[in-house]
Each structure stands twice: as structure tokens, then as C-alpha cells.
């Protein structure tokens, strides 16, 4: 069995009085896509910065692709690609110049070839000579992804890759990320979109308050924490409180779901516990997320 692509052991990172990462233990096996799922402020972005050497841990150890960080960070970064949350492309220069600069930064031997390959991957070959500010939002996002892949990295860090994008563009990006998975590239993807994690990740780690509180395959996590079926009960607030009390007394887990409550493990409910009017559906990762983090998900 090969060594994990990423290994963090008891990593702590504080910013003044705030502990952003709190004793984090995380291993990402080679060749999988791990979704790091957590609410805003959970420590996902700090974890990403720790992995790129842009933040130094106060304590603990970090190994990336066999390189110890921060001492051997440059070697690690040469073998990984990073797709940031924010668009930081050079907007005044052309698509191909953006890629060529990063090919040089990654010390790629054949820059024109790498640029051609990245353009093809991002499906931007016919826009190669256009300035970035002439591209649509979706094209820019694809370029950002291609920029992080211009040197054919073994490991890719995706920091909220589709945040703020409309559904069509999000789907385009998911296809590209899925292609990467198919090629055996190891992916660590931070996200707070449940659907994104469900669709792309082989495994999901739920992070909150700087540490991992649950980890597993999405289906396993759902089964373990939310059972097979969830019942959403819609009623007046007083009635909802009553339903909640009865469900919890029966050992079922309940979470708020907007104007309703969601009773998880509804398949185990005794007769009469769930009203006929409740909407029954398959339990989801969102149920697990909200249950574990106490946060509403998107």
C-alpha cells in the first residue's frame, strides 16, 4: 500500500486568540478524491494554506507527497496543483500567457506543449489569444483549474472550486474534476456544497471548529449518522416542537430544516410517531452535515 498523499498529525494553527485548526489529524490516500466538508470558519481554507506552505503550523506535522512541510515545501508544491477559491488570474494578459507564466513557475520543461494541453483540458483552445477579461465567468473558472493543472500534478488542492458559480458552470467544472479523478490524480477538495461533495468525493471528512468530526464514504456516513430515511414534518411551530420532543424521546435524531423538522432514521420510527403528512425521502449527506455541525448547508 502506498504512502498517503497527505498526512497531517495533530496540527494546530492559531491566529491570536482564534484557533483555526485544532489538533487536526487527516490522511488522504493516494488516488482518491477527499471532500473536506465544513461550514464557513471551520478551518478548511487554513488547512489548504498549511498544505501550500502559506501558513506555518504552530505544532504537529505535515507531509505532502512524502515531503515534510514547511522545510521541503517547494518540492511538495512542484508536484501539486492549487485551484484557489478566489479568481486571481491576470486579467489584462491572454489566456495562453496566463498558462505559460504558471508553466514556468512550475519549471515545466516544454512550456508550449504544457500550455496546449492545459488549453485543451479547459476547452479554451479557440480562446487562447483572448484577454482574460474578455472571458465569461465559466471560462475563467475553467482557466483557473487548467492553470493549477498545467504541470500535470499528482495532487490537486481545490479550495471551494465552485463557490459563487451558477449551476451550469458548476456542472461544467464538476465534469472536469471528474476527469481528473478518472486519471488517478489525488484530490483534496474543500467545499461547503453538500451536492459537490456527494457527487465528486470518494470520501468525505466533515470539519468543524478546526478538526475532523466524521469521515467516511458519503453513503456510509449517511447510513451511520442519519439512517436510511428522513421524514420532514411541516406544521405550526408549537406542533413541530411536540413532534420533535416525541421523536427524540424515541431515540431518533432531529434537525431543523427551514420551516420543518427533519427526523432521521425514520425507518425505525414506531407507528404513529411520524405523521401521515410528513414527506419521506432518502437520508442525505446534508442531514449528516447539519446534524454534526449544527449548520444549515447550501
Amino acid at each position: 500500500m502506498s504512502a498517503p498523499a497527505i498526512r497531517l498529525k495533530q496540527v494546530v494553527k492559531t491566529f491570536g486568540p482564534i484557533t483555526a485548526v485544532d489538533g487536526l489529524d487527516l490522511e488522504v490516500p493516494t488516488g482518491i478524491c477527499l471532500g473536506l466538508l465544513g461550514p464557513n470558519g471551520a478551518g478548511k481554507s487554513t488547512t489548504m494554506r498549511l498544505l501550500t506552505g502559506q501558513a506555518i503550523a504552530d505544532s504537529g506535522s505535515i507531509d505532502v507527497l512524502g515531503h515534510s512541510l514547511p522545510s521541503d515545501g517547494k518540492r511538495a508544491r512542484a508536484e501539486m496543483g492549487v485551484v484557489p477559491q478566489l479568481d486571481n488570474l491576470d486579467v489584462d494578459v491572454t489566456v495562453e500567457e496566463n498558462l505559460a507564466v504558471f508553466a514556468r513557475l512550475y519549471r515545466v520543461a516544454d512550456v508550449p506543449d504544457a500550455v496546449d494541453r492545459a488549453l485543451e483540458l479547459a476547452r479554451l483552445t479557440d480562446r487562447r489569444r483572448d484577454r482574460v477579461d474578455e472571458l465569461s465567468g465559466g471560462m475563467r473558472r475553467r482557466l483557473l483549474l487548467a492553470r493549477g493543472l498545467v504541470h500535470e500534478p499528482r495532487l490537486v488542492l481545490l479550495d471551494e472550486p465552485t463557490v459563487g458559480l451558477d449551476p451550469q458552470i458548476r456542472t461544467q467544472l464538476w465534469s472536469l474534476i471528474d476527469e481528473l479523478r478518472g486519471q488517478g490524480v489525488t484530490i483534496l477538495m474543500s467545499t461547503h456544497y453538500i451536492e459537490e461533495a456527494e457527487r465528486l468525493a470518494d470520501e468525505v471528512a466533515v470539519m468543524t471548529a478546526g478538526s475532523i468530526i466524521a469521515r467516511g464514504r458519503p453513503a456510509d456516513l449517511v447510513l451511520e449518522h442519519a439512517g436510511r430515511e428522513t421524514a420532514e414534518i411541516y406544521a405550526a411551530p408549537a406542533a413541530l416542537a411536540e413532534h420533535r420532543e416525541r421523536a427524540e424521546a424515541a431515540g431518533l435524531r432531529v434537525r431543523p430544516a427551514g420551516p420543518a423538522i427533519a427526523v432521521m432514521g425514520a425507518e425505525r420510527a414506531t407507528d404513529g410517531l411520524i405523521p401521515e403528512s410528513a414527506v419521506r425521502r432518502a437520508a442525505s449527506l446534508e442531514d449528516v452535515f447539519v446534524l454534526l455541525t449544527g449548520e444549515e448547508a447550501e
Binding site: 502559506q54 499528482r154 488517478g184
Partner: protein
């Protein structure tokens, strides 16, 4: 995952990692070049035109009416050779301050670069060298203009771009240091008013500093621009032994500011 798919992953890229890797510095500079190609016309226009305006106003205006010559040098040539220092400071400190701040805070360019095998030392060095090269080039423009106003070309002038480059590197590093220390872009006004303007006024560009009170003369001797002005005039009118000291001063200033800029940017960019 199938074995075929597993093998689709590229072989690990082993790069030669060392401090101040020329490939890393060159790559960062290539980004600057790519961007510069989009705005070089405006920069070149202002960098060349500004000294001409100063020369016309001070050299010809003052020279024709109030000051005939300084130590036997026609005033227009005295100012023209001094204007090199003015061009150097304005084309190094200001782009370094504003450019660094914008790239860090607004464009997030440094986040992208530091996610590649480039470290802060290489990043700052590349930024400084690029601004130094540009300012070395533009800083020499006033000398060419002054030749048009009757200054005789001299072999020593060929060294002026080198002097301008070294000085510009120092001031670029100073600008980067300021940007790394500032919380808001408005704070640059203090630096411009309290540092840049006095430095350019008391550099011996418009009047010889030996006419100043003794205390101010001592301060002027600590002004890198004064040493640059002396070197440029040495190049134009003949070097003296003391010019070695002037060049040494500029080298030490550039090296000191370079290390300071790296230290400040390290604190700013790495959490």
C-alpha cells in the same frame, strides 16, 4: 480504479530546489513582462515626458533667467544630469509600493505564485529586479534628453543605467517594505510626503548641496539619490575617486533594503 487509469498520472516532477533559484526568479519576472506588455506605452510616455517637462521648467526657465551655471556647468545640464535620480525614485518607489499592495490585497497574485515552487525570497527578489531594470532604463532617459540640450556624450555615461539600476533596486525594495508594512493604501501618502519628496528635493538635483547648512548637508549625504546624482555627474563630466564610495553606498543600501523587504514580506505573506 483500473491499472491503466492509475498509470495516467504523470511521473513526479523533481525540480532542482535551491535558494534564490534563477528559474523561479525568471518565471516571476516573466509574469511581470507579460503584464507590462499591456501598459508599457503609457508608462514610457510619462517616464520620458516628465523629465523633459522638468528640464524645460527648471533647466531652461531657471537657467535662462536666474541661474546661469553651477561650477561652470550650464544649469540645464546640471539639472538634466540630476534628473536621472528623480526619474529613478519615481519609477521605482511608487510602482513598488502600489504594485505590491495591489497584487497582495486586491489581485491576490502572490497567493497564486506562492502556491507554486517559489518562495517569498524569490518573489521579492524578482519583483525588485524587474522594477530595478525598468527604472534603470527609464532613469537614463533624462540623460538622453539632456544630450539634446547640448550635453556632450561621454563614455562614462554608459555606466549610468548600472548606477540607476542599483539605486532603483534599493528604492524598489523600500517600496515593497512599505507596502508590506501598510494596512491601507492611503498610508502611502505619508511616505510620499515625508520620505520621497524630501529625498528627491535634497539630492543635489536642482542645487548643489554644499550650499546647505551643515546639518542638512550631513543628512543629504545619507540620501541615496545624492550619491546617484554624484555618480551620474561623474559619468557625464569625469569620475573621481570618491565615486567608488558613492557606488558602495548605493550597493549597501540596495542590499540592506532587499533583505528588509524579504523579511517584511515573509511576515505579511506567510501566516
Amino acid at each position: 480504479m483500473s491499472e491503466a487509469e492509475q498509470t495516467a498520472v504523470a511521473e513526479p516532477q523533481r525540480i532542482h530546489v535551491r535558494r534564490l533559484d534563477p528559474a523561479a526568479i525568471g518565471a516571476v519576472m516573466s509574469r511581470e513582462v507579460a503584464n507590462f506588455k499591456t501598459f508599457w506605452k503609457g508608462t514610457t510616455f510619462s517616464s520620458v515626458l516628465e523629465p523633459i517637462v522638468y528640464l524645460l521648467a527648471f533647466g531652461l526657465g531657471l537657467g535662462a533667467t536666474i541661474v546661469g551655471d553651477v561650477g561652470g556647468v550650464p544649469y540645464v545640464q546640471f539639472v538634466g544630469t540630476g534628473m536621472v535620480a528623480t526619474a529613478v525614485i519615481f519609477s521605482s518607489v511608487l510602482p513598488a509600493m502600489f504594485g505590491t499592495f495591489v497584487k497582495h490585497h486586491f489581485q491576490r497574485t502572490y497567493d497564486a505564485i506562492l502556491a507554486t515552487p517559489v518562495d517569498v525570497e524569490e518573489l521579492v527578489t524578482a519583483e525588485m529586479l524587474w522594477i530595478g531594470l525598468r527604472a534603470g532604463f527609464y532613469g537614463s532617459a533624462p540623460l538622453l534628453v539632456t544630450i539634446g540640450f547640448g550635453l556632450d556624450p561621454a563614455w562614462g555615461m554608459l555606466l549610468v543605467p548600472v548606477f540607476a539600476f542599483v539605486t532603483a533596486c534599493g528604492f524598489a525594495a523600500f517600496g515593497i517594505t512599505v507596502a508590506a508594512s501598510a494596512e491601507k493604501i492611503d498610508q502611502f501618502n505619508y511616505v510620499t510626503t515625508l520620505a520621497v519628496t524630501p529625498l528627491f528635493l535634497v539630492a543635489g538635483t536642482f542645487f548643489p548641496i554644499d550650499g546647505l547648512p551643515e546639518g542638512l548637508q550631513t543628512l543629504a549625504n545619507l540620501n541615496p539619490l545624492y550619491h546617484l546624482v554624484e555618480l551620474v555627474r561623474g559619468g557625464a563630466f569625469g569620475f573621481e575617486t570618491v565615486d567608488i564610495f558613492h557606488f558602495g553606498f548605493l550597493l549597501v543600501m540596495a542590499l540592506g533594503m532587499w533583505r528588509l523587504a524579504i523579511s517584511r514580506m515573509q511576515k505579511r505573506l506567510i501566516d
